[in-house]
C-alpha cells in the first residue's frame, strides 16, 4: 500500500529547525511522524516537497539523515520513500544528507 503526503498540507507550510528545541515543525518531528512509521511498517511513502516556504538544511538533515541514525539503511529509504519535487537540487540535497549519514553509520 502506498501513501501520498504533502509536507505543506500534512505537516507544515513552514518547516522549522532541527529539533523541537528550535521551535515548532522541526525535522525531528517530521521524521517521527511520517518517515519512521512508514519504514517500520514497510509502507511506501511518496512525499511532495514543494508546497512549503522552503527548507533549512538542519530540517532536511535531521529528518532524512536522522532516519539512518535511527537504525534504518539507505536501501530502506530508497525502497520505501519517494521524494517528489520540481527542484532537482532539493532532492539532491536530501540524498546527500542520507548518503553522508549512511557513510558515517558504516564507519562506526
Amino acid at each position: 500500500m502506498k501513501e501520498n503526503i504533502s509536507v505543506g498540507k500534512d505537516f507544515s507550510i513552514y518547516p522549522g529547525g532541527r529539533t523541537p528545541d528550535d521551535g515548532p515543525d522541526s525535522g525531528e518531528e517530521f521524521r517521527e511522524k511520517f518517515l519512521v512509521p512508514a519504514l517500520e511498517s514497510h509502507q511506501y511513502l511518496s512525499i511532495a516537497l514543494d508546497d512549503t516556504r522552503g527548507y533549512g538544511s538542519s530540517f532536511l538533515e535531521e529528518a532524512f539523515g536522522g532516519v539512518i541514525r535511527k537504525g534504518f539503511t539507505k536501501q530502506d529509504i530508497d525502497k520505501y520513500i519517494k521524494l517528489v519535487s520540481e527542484n532537482p537540487s532539493l532532492i539532491a540535497e536530501i540524498n546527500h544528507y542520507i548518503a553522508e549519514a549512511d557513510k558515517r553509520s558504516k564507519r562506526q
Partner: protein
Amino acid sequence: MISNHKGYRKRHRYTSMFFMNSSHIEHTVSCSKNHTKKLIVFPASFSLIKNNRSDVIKCINKIEELVINLNGFHGKIYLDFTKVRVVYPDAMILLYAEMSNIHNAYKNIRFKIINKSNSKVDQILQQLGMSKWCHHKAKVNKTIIRKDVKYWRSCSGVHVIHKDYDKIVEQDGILGSIADATSKQLYGACIEATKNASRHAYIENLRNIKIASDKASWWCFSEIKDKELTVVVCDLGVTIPYTLPKRREKLFKKLISLGKKTDADLIAGAIENPLSRSGEEYRGNGLPKIAELAKQQQGSMIILSRCGVVGISKQGRMKKRNFKLPINGTIVSWRIPIVSGVYQ
C-alpha cells in the same frame, strides 16, 4: 555630529555640562538630584559598512554604557536623529536589536527620540515600532509615507523564524514578486540564520549588559528599494570570530597557519568549511546554507561579525574587509532582485 545642542538646552532650561568621548559627544543634562538626561547624537550616515561606521558603533555602545550606569535610577536617554540623512538596514537593525533588548531587560530605562517631524528616520522608527517603545509620538503623515520606508518590515523571535517569515516577505505581495526558487532559498537561509542565533550566539555573555535572549534572540528586517528585496537577520551574541577558536580549534589553527588571522578571514573560513560547534559531523551546514543563495547567483549576501565583513556578490565572488571597531553581534543580509509585480 552635534557638539552643542543649544535649542534642546534652551527648551529644557536645565543646567548642562558637556564631555567629549572619543569622536562622538554625549550631552548630559542634570535636572534634579536623582534625575539625569543623557543625549546620544547619531551621525549623518547610518551604516556599518559605509561612512560613519565607528560613530554609529560608538553611539550604540554609549547607549549600553548609559543603560548600565542609569539602571536603578530615574534616567532617560535622549536619542537625537536630527543629523541622520542616510539609513541602511545593517546599522538600523543593530540599533533596533539593542533597543529591543534594553526594552526587554531593563524596564526602568526610558528613551526619548529627538527628530524632525515626518523625516525619513521618523517614518522608519514609526514603521518598526521603535517610536512606541520610546513613547515617541511621531508626527508622521500617513498619506505621504515615503516609498522607501513603506516597505520596511520587522520581526523578532526566540526560536527559528517559522511563520514570522511571512511578516517580512508575504505582506503586500512581496513573495509573489521574487522568483519561487529564490524565495525558498531565502526561507532556508533565514531558518539557518535564526537557528544559529538561538542555538549558538548566546553561549556566553561577554558584555556587561543583560541579554534577554529568552525574550528575543534574533531580529529581522526587510526593505524594498531599487527593485531589490533586502532581508537582514541580527543577533547580539558572541560573534563568529569569537566562537571559531573555541569550538573549531582545528580549523582555527589551520586558518592561522595559512596567515588567515583577521575576523573576515575567520568568517570566510567558517563559511567554506562547514562543521558546527557541536562537533557532530552531520551538523554545521547552517553557514553554507546561508551563503548558498549568493553562491548560486540568486542574489548577494553580506555577513558582519565583530570586526569582519564578508560579502558574496551576485556573481558569486567573495570579498573580505575588516574594520577597527567591532560590533557586538552578527548581522547577515541578503539582497535579491524583484522580478515582477508592483515593486518593479
